[in-house]
């Protein structure tokens, strides 16, 4: 079975690189982007299974990025990362087709569980 392809979108590069490395250690194929435009570019070329998307990123609003990804390929599952417990944004995200959300700081076990579930959902769809 091929590795699950994960795109990590977060403007905190330190966070993104550490988390990416941890996910790689767990056999995920991980790429990261620090803004919306870069993320959409990678979505096009890399075709990830799951996108971990921070809701607050420079360039474009997180929700709009989510909509753009879903528009490009509705089977790509998006897990929202939120650092500030903004209930309204999470609600908007879920309505716009996000699979799940997870609060920062992230528990790696919970995250991998959610990625796997998202990946399974994509496989079946």
């Amino acid at each position: 079975m091929a590795h699950t392809k994960v795109l990590l979108v977060d403007d905190e590069k330190e966070f993104a690189s550490a988390l990416a490395e941890r996910l790689q250690l767990r056999n995920y194929d991980v790429k990261s982007a620090s803004n919306a435009l870069e993320a959409l570019g990678i979505v096009h070329s890399f075709l990830p299974d799951v996108v971990l998307l921070d809701l607050k990123i420079p360039g474009m609003d997180g929700i709009e990025t989510l909509k753009a990804i879903k528009k490009f390929d509705s089977t790509i599952e998006v897990i929202m990362l939120t650092g500030h417990g903004d209930v309204r944004s999470v609600e908007d995200g879920m309505k716009s087709g996000a699979f799940e959300y997870i609060m920062k700081p992230v528990d790696i076990g919970e995250l991998t569980l959610k990625i796997n579930r998202a990946s399974q959902k994509k496989q079946t769809s």
Partner: protein
């Protein structure tokens, strides 16, 4: 003792440097309000009081004057009647003699001398008696001079007595140069178709005694003149008997005439003229003193005490009233300040709530980094064990963790600083630093909303002695509003500049949708908000306005629809606020 000395020296300073008092009054607006109320009230109430007092003063003076005129008239009348009685009495006596004795009897020197002696005893001042026949020749005479045989036929008085049957002469000096006057009575002898005359001479001193009965002040004068103005009795100021009285004389048509003359100098102020019946005389009264002009001291004292009493009462009432009013104002001001203070506190709390969300987000990020780096270290240890190869990797991860901890520390310090600055303080602050700190709170928000921030901070900006916390709250409010007003691709420009050597200015400009004119005039009003319910307290700008005013500065807003809004705050280098 030391305290007393201090008080005394303060009193001296106040007396010699009254400006100090005004300086203190100028500072204490309640005291100056009190003084203004008292002055205005005293002025308003004292003007009618003084008008009433002045009117009653003059009214009373007029009454006194009228009274004085009446009194004078009465006295002149009295004197006139006394003198007329005197003249009439002399005429009656002569008439009695002429009817009691015949011409022949009185032509007898002896009988005439006896009669003269008898009457001289009764009536002082008699000088002589003479009997004159119808041809004007003095037939007999008794007296100090040798006038028997003197011919009076050509004299004016002789003609007069023939016509009127009595005669009273002007004053004249006889041989001894003693002034006297003559009285004559004609006695008809119808059976012989002839007449004779009894003539008596009387010393003028006798008349003077009657004139002197009037009670006058030392400045006043009373005397008798004849119709030619020749003095018949001596005058205090116009000379002796037979001298000319030079002042104008008005012969009264009625019995008495009182004239008031507005002349300066020694001339009379009030002149009374009265004709004496059966004589050629005019009684003249000259009043130079004006006793009515000096309101009697009793009345003056009463008036003074009433005035002073009214002023004192008015002043006490005014002061008590001003005190009550100003104290009420002071209390309501204090209440208002308290209410403003409370709403300021509410606004601070609202700002803090807003900050807390931002801070939670900001702290979450470094926490997430620490979490991931620590997790990665654990992962590496679990996968490959503690090998020397991992040392560099670990060091880099640890320094990343330390850096994130520093980030957290900066945030917590900033937050602590903000809460500490809620206490009022006065520090010399660099406005550029203060603004950078405020922007530090908001930069994530600015970044996420994709807002461009331009800073034109003037270098070497003079330091401002003011309350940093309050100033920062103002900028936090204004920049927050700007962020809320901006959509995508917004621009916020913050400019600082030294306006002059007393003020510095801070302009915060956005290119948002602008504020409609009808809203612009309300934006500094408390609880005015155009944000959705629950989004804003409506207090931010009103409190900012209050703070800037309190710090002695100004806050201005200019806005144009679809072009943006500029808030300009100007602050004094030395804040006047407390």
């Amino acid at each position: 003792m030391k305290n007393m000395k201090q008080k005394f020296s303060n009193l001296l300073r106040d007396i010699f440097h009254p400006r100090e008092i005004f300086r203190v009054l100028g500072k204490d607006r309640y005291a100056s309000l009190k003084i203004r109320i008292v002055l205005l009230d005293v002025l308003l109430s004292m003007i009618p009081l003084f008008i009433v007092i002045t009117i009653s003063y003059f009214w009373f003076q007029k009454i006194l004057k009228d009274d004085f005129h009446k009194q004078l008239n009465w006295e002149i009348q009295n004197t006139k009647q006394t003198i007329e009685f005197f003249v009439d009495e002399r005429l009656s006596v002569l008439r009695f003699i002429t009817s009691s004795y015949t011409y022949e009897q009185l032509s007898d020197q002896k009988i005439l001398t006896e009669t003269f002696a008898r009457f001289k005893k009764e009536f002082g001042g008699l000088v002589d008696f003479g009997i004159i026949d119808s041809s004007g020749i003095q037939r007999s005479y008794t007296g100090p001079y040798n006038l028997a045989g003197k011919d009076y036929s050509t004299q004016e008085w002789f003609q007069e007595v023939i016509i009127r049957s009595y005669y009273v002469s002007d004053a004249f000096t006889g041989y001894r140069k003693i002034p006297h006057f003559a009285v004559a009575i004609k006695r008809e002898v119808p059976e012989k178709g002839t007449f004779w005359i009894l003539r008596a001479t009387i010393n003028i001193d006798t008349l003077q005694k009657y004139v002197n009965t009037v009670n006058l002040r030392s400045n006043d004068d009373i005397f008798i003149i004849n119709r030619e103005g020749i003095l018949q009795t001596p005058s205090k100021f116009h000379g002796d008997v037979l001298e000319k009285y030079t002042a104008p004389v008005t012969i009264p048509r009625q019995e008495i005439l009182i004239q008031e003359l507005q002349t300066s100098g020694d001339d009379c102020k009030i002149c009374g003229f009265a004709t004496i019946k059966h004589s050629p005389w005019i009684l003249v009264t000259v009043i130079r003193s004006t006793p009515y002009a000096r309101i009697p001291s009793i009345f003056r004292n009463e008036l003074f005490f009433i005035t002073m009493g009214s002023i004192l009462l008015g002043l006490i009432f005014t002061i008590v009233m001003a005190n009550t009013v100003v104290n009420r104002i002071k209390l309501s001001d204090q209440d208002r300040e308290k209410a403003v203070g409370q709403s300021e506190h509410a606004s601070k709390m609202a700002s803090i709530g807003r900050l807390a969300a931002g801070v939670a987000h900001e702290i979450n990020n470094p926490l997430a980094i620490i979490n991931e780096k620590a997790g990665l270290m654990k992962d590496i240890l679990e996968v490959s064990g503690n090998t020397p190869d991992n040392k560099d990797k670990f060091l880099s991860l640890i320094s990343g963790i330390a850096e994130s901890v520093n980030r957290c520390r900066t945030i917590t310090h900033r937050l602590l600083g903000f809460s500490r600055r809620m206490e009022i303080s006065q520090d010399a602050i660099d406005m550029n630093d203060a603004i950078q700190e405020v922007i530090g709170f908001l930069e994530k928000e600015i970044l996420y909303r994709n807002i461009r921030l331009e800073l034109n901070l003037q270098e070497n900006l003079p330091k401002v002695i003011t309350d940093k916390g309050q100033v920062q709250q103002v900028f936090l409010n204004i920049i927050n509003n700007a962020i809320d007003a901006l959509k995508k691709n917004g621009l916020i420009n913050v400019t600082t500049y030294a306006k002059d050597d007393k003020f510095i200015g801070i302009a915060i400009k956005d290119n948002g949708s602008g504020i409609p004119k009808e809203n612009l005039k309300h934006i500094f009003e408390p609880f005015y908000s155009t944000k959705e319910k629950g989004e804003g307290t409506g207090l931010g700008l009103s409190i900012s306005y209050g703070i800037v005013q309190k710090l002695g500065g100004t806050i201005l807003v200019e806005s144009e629809i679809n072009k943006g809004t500029t808030f300009s705050v100007e602050l004094p280098l030395k804040s006047e606020g407390d």
